[in-house]
């Protein structure tokens, strides 16, 4: 039997007629897809450092780092959602809600200040996930509803936005927003740790494999025994938790829960994720790319400010144009690799 087994060897490693160059070309496009955002970020930073004296100062860089942490954490959760082929439009509202809840909760102690926004925003994410995974509703509609709902709750707890809760001074929450370690803000440290954990979860954990599988081919994933519904519920819950935490940290940074924040933030997060090389169709993406995408958006914003003569609304024009360029490049690279 075993002899019969071994006789026909199927060599699928390389189609014979495919020249080696094609393989190398594919490697290059794969690299461009994975690290394109990082390369663009480095180039932009280099150009900005040469062009503007005030850009490469430690103050400016530090401010940019702290300024990007909130979007970064939101985009981290969003990356998981988009890799499953979904979308989460509720994160802007839950971000603002998380901030208000944290500020309000800080009067009852740090534990409440941190756990309340996580619990509420995590719950919103969980409900999103349940509706999407179990009731098979479209993520776009479900999270759009959650976005309106979270904004509504926010207005209700702040008396239509007229009450602004302040974060208790000297509370641990306030410390999180103010203190730094080794000259780097605690917020940046927290974000960095979250990204390392996120990258490990996506690339090196079984859960991460399920996330890719669900986004890559949901039917196949389910037939291969992947827990499709549980994975979807998990990513939306994670996204809600990230948005809530980002909101709480933002409240700590601003020392108050500002109600008007987070409008349109979901779109910035999606933009950052896509710029980072993650496919909106799912099944392909990187945490590191998302980080590069967030920083790139932040640097563009900073450059527009540096120019000074330009109205800050141009930042959106530039970000929008940049996003369009990235999506075109992504699609082109994807087609070249026959992924789309």
């Amino acid at each position: 039997m075993s002899t019969q087994m071994k006789s026909p060897v199927l060599d699928a490693s390389l189609p014979e007629e495919e020249p080696l160059g094609a393989r190398r070309g594919e490697r290059l496009t794969a690299l461009a897809q994975q690290h394109g955002a990082l390369v663009a970020l480095l180039l932009t930073v280099l150009i900005a450092s040469v062009s503007f004296e005030a850009f490469p100062t430690s103050d400016n860089l530090g401010n940019m780092a702290v300024g990007s942490t909130f979007l970064a954490i939101v985009a981290l959760g969003m990356t998981f959602v988009i890799v499953t082929g979904g979308i989460d439009l509720s994160v802007g509202s839950t971000f603002a809600l998380g901030g208000v809840l944290a500020a309000w909760g800080s009067q009852y102690g740090t534990l409440v200040a941190l756990l309340l926004p996580l619990a509420v925003c995590g719950l919103i994410g969980l409900v999103n996930g349940l509706l999407i995974a179990k009731s098979r509703l479209a993520p776009f509609i479900v999270t759009l509803a959650a976005m309106l709902l979270a904004r509504g709750i926010l207005l209700a707890v702040t008396d239509e936005g007229s009450t602004t809760y302040l974060v208790e001074e000297r509370s641990f929450l306030a410390t999180l927003g103010e203190e730094s370690l080794l000259g780097v803000s605690l917020l940046v440290w927290i974000t960095a740790v979250l990204f390392v954990l996120g990258a490990l979860a996506l690339r090196r954990s079984r859960f991460g494999q399920y996330v890719y599988a669900v986004g890559g081919n949901e039917d196949a994933a389910s037939l291969m025994g992947a827990p499709v519904a549980r994975t979807k519920i998990a990513v939306y819950t994670l996204s809600g938790l990230c948005a809530g935490l980002a909101g709480a940290l933002n409240a700590a940074y601003l020392m108050s829960g500002v109600t008007i924040l987070g409008v349109g933030m979901e779109l910035d997060a999606i933009a950052a994720v896509v710029i980072g090389g993650t496919l909106l169709t799912g099944g392909f993406g990187f945490i590191s790319g998302t980080l590069a995408g967030v920083l790139l958006l932040q640097v563009i914003k900073n450059i527009i400010n540096q120019i000074g003569s330009l109205d800050s609304s141009y930042q959106q024009v530039v970000s929008g144009a940049f996003l369009a360029v990235v999506v075109v490049a992504q699609t082109w690279l994807g087609r070249k690799r026959r992924m789309l």
Binding site: S7, P8, L10, Q209, Y212, L223, M224, G225, A226
Partner: protein
């Protein structure tokens, strides 16, 4: 049909001597809206045996498999696994219990690497709970090498050929300590060489005492690897017994429910043979070149002629059809319809010129399952059926009615969703769509793949009729018998180049095989630079 195993009832265990069924159903019934898919089916699979499950499309094979593997639950009846009644809620549960399935279409995640696909859900982990990629890659390589496949397991699955992908699916199925392996038409997209490998694996599984349930439309394969056969027809079990006791004709007549004499008289294909051909070619393709794919392919089809395109999987058959139909832009070459040049690389231009392509993958490239029969037929013809942007509903009804009758499309009516039809009828709907465009040339890429014997014969008869009506037909088929009997001439491709052309009395299976085999070591013409 004198000797039949009694697979009925959990107590009636009179299978092969000395063997206890590992998986068995008793009186399983499954209803779908408007259809009884399974009607009291008693089926049993024994360890160390390869069990063929056959029947026409719509006979209930897929439904039975889905009931066995936890995709569907039976409305009535019992599923017994290792002597215990079971009710699997999900494919995962069935898999954990030891029942693995390989589906007709490769069901893996194309963007993920081979190793990740192979180990999804079972990844080896280190003591921190993180995936140990080095071990995973090593084990993946070993597992595939055991099946006779050498491949870089870090590559994305989609970069592999379809046969290799199937092998990965098989490796996955075998790895999860399976007691039962169910294969739903595993060879439908494999090359002969890959089929050999697959059969080797099936025999290995059998010798390990695994029960294999094997579904296929290819009769040769059944006789080559299967021990036992179960025939389903219209949701009912009509025969179970050793395959050696059943000759081919008897098997086909059981499947079709037709008399043996009838089958013998009509043969296994429905082609009538020669066609009246004549005049100037209706289609001429000259010097088609596509980088890495086609190297100077030329062909001509006269009205009323069926030209077969032979060759192995990957020889450039589908690509030739696509290049002619504008779906694959050629780097060089020209296409002429009735002597007039057609702009290449544009499907609308090709369609306007009268070229219609029935694609190979009807699920991905053809039917819209959620739309009705009527809408699917009218889809491509709509621009011609509209006035001032509004669709002329009456004309659509007339056309749909004509083609449903002419092609004998079996549906509850023009408004039934195409997704609910059998494969053969879906194919006919597609054919109707293109015929509604009144084409001059019809390119048929595997028109009978994956459809049952009865529907196959009907489609073949239709091809004959269409040629008789003066259409030029290009027929692509992996089924040699079909190709030889259906074509007036056969153009043989190998590695993207024409290596032979058979005409008249030369069109035989032997000559075709020779043509394909003889050139296998010859230096390639116009090889990629």
């Amino acid at each position: 049909m004198t000797e039949t195993y009694d697979a009925g009832g959990p107590q009636a265990g009179s299978g092969p001597p000395g063997a206890e069924a590992v998986l068995r159903t008793a009186g399983v019934t499954k209803r779908f809206p408007g259809a009884l898919a399974l009607d009291g089916v008693d089926f049993a699979a024994y360890p160390g045996r390869v069990h063929a499950l056959i029947g026409e499309n719509g006979a209930g094979k897929s439904t039975l498999i889905k009931v066995l593997t936890g995709v569907y639950r039976a409305d009535e009846g019992l599923v017994e696994y290792r002597g215990e009644p079971v009710e699997f809620a999900t494919p995962l549960e069935a898999q954990h219990a030891g029942i693995s399935t390989i589906y007709q279409e490769v069901n893996l995640v194309p963007l993920m690497s081979v190793a990740r696909n192979l180990f999804l859900g079972r990844e080896p982990r280190n003591r921190f709970g993180l995936i140990d990629f080095r071990r995973m890659h090593r084990e993946a390589e070993e597992a595939l090498r055991d099946l006779g496949v050498r491949v870089d397991v870090t590559r994305a699955l989609r970069t592999l050929g379809i046969g290799a992908q199937q092998m990965v699916a098989l490796a996955r199925a075998v790895q999860v300590d399976a007691r039962v392996v169910v294969m739903d038409e595993p060879t439908s997209s494999l090359e002969p060489r890959e089929v050999e490998t697959l059969f080797g694996v099936i025999r290995m599984l059998r010798d390990r005492g695994i029960a294999v349930v094997y579904v296929s439309h290819r009769l040769d394969e059944l006789y080559e690897v299967c021990d036992t056969v179960t025939v389903l027809r219209d949701g009912k079990l009509v025969h179970t017994g050793p395959i050696a006791e059943l000759d081919r004709l008897r098997l086909v007549s059981l499947m079709l429910g037709r008399e043996m004499g009838e089958v013998r008289a009509e043969g296994l294909t429905k082609f009538s043979g020669e066609h009246e051909t004549g005049g100037e070619p209706v289609l001429t393709a000259r010097g088609l070149r596509v980088r890495h794919t086609l190297h100077d392919v030329s062909l001509a089809i006269r009205p009323g002629e069926v030209v077969g395109l032979g060759g192995l999987l990957g020889s450039g058959r589908s690509e030739t059809a696509k290049a002619v139909a504008g779906a694959l832009p050629p780097d060089e070459g020209e296409v002429l319809v009735a002597g007039a040049s057609v702009r290449t690389g544009s499907t609308p231009a090709a369609i306007r010129a009268g070229i219609s392509l029935l694609p190979e993958d009807r699920k991905a490239e053809g039917i819209v399952p959620g739309l009705s029969v009527r809408e699917n037929i009218a889809l491509a013809a709509l621009p011609g059926l509209s006035r001032f942007g509004l669709v002329d509903e009456e004309r659509v009804d007339r056309i749909v009615d004509t083609f449903m009758k002419r092609l004998r499309i079996k549906a509850s009516g023009p408004h039934q969703k195409v997704g609910e039809l059998s494969g053969g009828n879906q194919q006919k709907v597609l054919l109707a769509r293109w015929l509604a465009m009144q084409p001059k040339v019809l390119l048929l890429d595997e028109p009978t793949r994956g459809i049952d014997v009865g529907a196959k014969a009907e489609v073949q008869k239709l091809i004959d009729e269409l040629a008789a009506d003066g259409l030029g037909v290009l027929l692509i088929s992996s089924d040699m018998e079909e190709l030889v009997e259906g074509s007036d001439r056969v153009v043989v491709l190998k590695d993207g180049a024409v290596v032979a052309e058979l005409a008249g009395a030369e069109v035989t299976e032997d000559r075709l095989l020779e043509a394909i085999a003889a050139h296998s070591r010859a230096p390639e013409e116009g090889a990629p630079s």
